[in-house]
């Protein structure tokens, strides 16, 4: 029983981070139909921001990191993605891939390609015991943050004016514009929110793994992409579900796989996701607006 509970806590914390990644990617895809490869680099730059600010009070580090990532997200939108808006799908894909690669190598030019260690919030790696389950405090913090962010975002999207406009833009960008939705503002806002999500992931991720490389964003971004595909492209709920699903499968594989196969965990993970897609090529949650219009 305890093992099941332990696994559930692991799955919730890992899945939560993946869900936040998928949500940041899914939000942008929903509105501008852009698969944002640079989302991983938002996380990476957030990580380096933590490194630069290490030593300052925690609140300051968190606030400054979020601001850095938000500014980066807005800058990328303005400089690279706005000129590409409305372009064909392959152009958008390759464009965001180029942006991602650009950011990686600018960081590489300034910091070198090697791993850098960063010790952020060491207090939170202590374990907390409850009901026979022990989990690092950080894991619980991650779960709490995920829940808060998801609830906050859901509230904003459902109840505020900007949220409603954002959903309208995701449904049909041109129609929303004709109805008086300020699309440039809404798209910028979406990028700012995805920046917040990436910044939060960066802070939690850096506190968890404690090392930085210019390539550190690639793996979480890939997981985020696959989560949006499995969840159903264009569905925010799907992105969250996909993220938690991947987190759960990851933790299950970690428990079930024999030691000599652990190295191949990702192969098993993506293999099982392929099987899901074999049955449901459109993903778990299908939204009408994701279908191609004639």
């Amino acid at each position: 029983m305890n093992e099941v509970l332990q696994a559930a806590v692991d799955a919730a914390s890992v899945g939560g981070i993946y869900a936040l990644m998928a949500l940041g990617i899914g939000l942008i895809f929903g509105i501008v139909r852009l698969v944002n490869f640079a989302h991983g680099e938002f996380v990476m730059v957030g990580g380096y921001a933590v490194l630069l600010l290490a030593g300052a009070p925690t609140v300051a580090v968190v606030a400054a990191t979020l601001i850095v990532v938000i500014v980066l997200a807005l800058g990328v939108e303005r400089v690279a993605f706005r000129p590409l808006r409305g372009a064909a799908m392959p152009t958008l894909l390759v464009g965001s891939f180029a942006v991602s690669y650009f950011i990686q190598h600018v960081v590489m030019m300034s910091y070198g390609g090697n791993t850098v260690g960063v010790d952020f919030l060491p207090r939170l790696s202590k374990s907390i015991e409850f009901g026979g389950v022990s989990a690092p405090a950080l894991q619980l913090v991650a779960i709490a943050i995920t829940v808060l962010l998801l609830a906050g975002l859901a509230f904003c999207l459902k109840a505020t004016r900007f949220g409603i406009e954002m959903r309208a833009a995701a449904e049909d960008l041109r129609m929303a514009r004709l109805m008086g939705v300020p699309t440039n503002l809404i798209i910028a806002l979406a990028f700012a929110i995805s920046g917040v999500l990436a910044g939060v992931v960066a802070i939690v991720y850096v506190a968890q793994i404690g090392v930085l490389t210019p390539r550190m964003g690639v793996q979480p971004a890939l997981i985020g992409f696959v989560a949006t595909v499995v969840g159903g492209m264009g569905s925010l709920l799907g992105a969250v579900v996909g993220g938690f699903l991947i987190g759960t499968i990851t933790v299950l594989l970690q428990v079930v796989l024999p030691l000599e196969l652990r190295d191949f965990r990702d192969a098993f993970l993506f293999g099982s996701l392929f099987l899901i897609l074999l049955v449901r090529p459109q993903g778990l949650i299908v939204v009408r607006s994701a279908r191609e219009r004639v």
């Binding site: 799908m89 464009g95 690669y101 650009f102 099987l275």
Partner: protein, 341 residues
């Protein structure tokens, strides 16, 4: 199409591969008189050309971006290494190889089609679920495929030597061998794009809904393109393995993916000529940048070394092309001789 003209029209269309290959022959002949470093640079560019043409064969015909084709390069390269290295060396390094392969030692030329076929087979198996996805999901899927294959090859020490590099692959790819395979790749890509499958795919690329409504099985055709392109990219991997004689798994990951996609995009991803032009232009650009990276001096001004500069410039060049000229330098056209009336 009518009798007499169809024959000459078909012949007329052969100009494109002929011109492209002729240009490559001229480049190679010129390079062969140059210093060794130039020869190596051109050989390297020709190997990239094989890969980019293979990548084009998929992307250009289907309109689906693939971020995963360098995985087929890795498969072709390692397969070729397993087939051609000496059994003694293989016994020490690759304890997990099946006996048939471990004891065999094939000539490099014989290993080429086998290696490429291995890549094509893997493409068939993975492509079956992958090509059923919508275009954009399939693109993400190819990226996941690349990450998985790199992870498996990187961790399976008994097959690949794992993270350490694999030494002792016979070195046989020189300028002329690379030129031969580049020519083969161009011919395969041309025949494919003029074939019924290629034409149907190009139709579906322009208008997916109309293609479906006309009864075209887009998923199956995309799978065919995926498999054929994997074969060509696998050939490129084979050529790469026998060029350096050293293999590392990471050499088939993000950097080569980015460079090959950049070449295709800059040249123009919808035409074979674009693929070739992209390789020539970007290879030249990268060579200049590589010299700049190590630091140089202009008159009295000392420019410090800037590792990573070439990647940054390539990324910016790609973005500029995408914004200003999304169809690439060739703009969807193929090279040909001027039409006589």
């Amino acid at each position: 199409m009518s009798d007499v003209r169809s024959g000459s029209a078909w012949l007329g269309r052969l100009w494109t591969p002929a011109v492209l290959i002729a240009v490559l022959v001229v480049i190679v002949v010129l390079a062969s008189t140059g210093p060794g470093s130039l020869q190596r640079t051109v050989t390297e560019a020709l190997i990239k050309l094989i890969v980019v043409v293979g990548l084009y064969l998929f992307i250009g015909n289907t309109g689906v971006i693939s971020f995963g084709h360098t995985a087929f390069m890795a498969i072709g390269a390692y397969m070729s290494a397993w087939l051609t290295m000496t059994p003694a060396l293989k016994r020490i390094r690759f304890t997990d190889l099946p006996d048939v392969v471990a004891t065999a030692q094939l000539p490099v030329l014989v290993a080429a089609p086998i290696s490429a076929t291995a890549a094509a087979l893997v493409a068939l198996i993975i492509g079956f679920p992958l090509m059923r996805l919508s275009g954009i999901s399939a693109s993400i899927g190819t990226f996941a495929m690349l990450a998985v294959i790199i992870a498996v090859y990187g961790n399976w020490g008994g097959l690949t030597g794992g993270k350490s590099s694999l030494i002792g692959v016979p070195v046989e790819t020189d300028l002329w061998v690379a030129l031969m395979w580049a020519g083969v790749a161009i011919v395969i890509a041309w025949v494919f794009q003029r074939s019924k499958t290629g034409l149907l795919l190009r139709g579906s690329r322009e208008d997916l809904v109309a293609a479906r409504a006309s009864g075209i099985d887009v998923h199956r055709l995309r799978l065919v393109a995926f498999v054929v392109s994997a074969f060509v990219v696998g050939l490129g991997g084979h050529a790469q393995a026998h060029f350096l004689g050293i293999l590392t798994v990471d050499a088939f990951y993000l950097d080569i993916t980015f460079v090959t996609i950049g070449m295709l995009v800059i040249g123009g991803m919808n035409s074979l000529s674009g693929a070739v032009v992209g390789v020539v232009v970007v290879s030249t650009l990268l060579d200049v940048l590589r010299r700049a990276e190590s630091g140089f001096s202009v008159g009295a001004i000392e420019i410090p070394s800037l590792p990573g500069l070439s990647q940054v410039v390539l990324a910016v060049a790609m973005l500029l092309i995408l914004v200003l000229r999304p169809a690439g330098l060739m703009g969807d056209r193929e090279v040909s001789l001027p039409r006589r009336r």
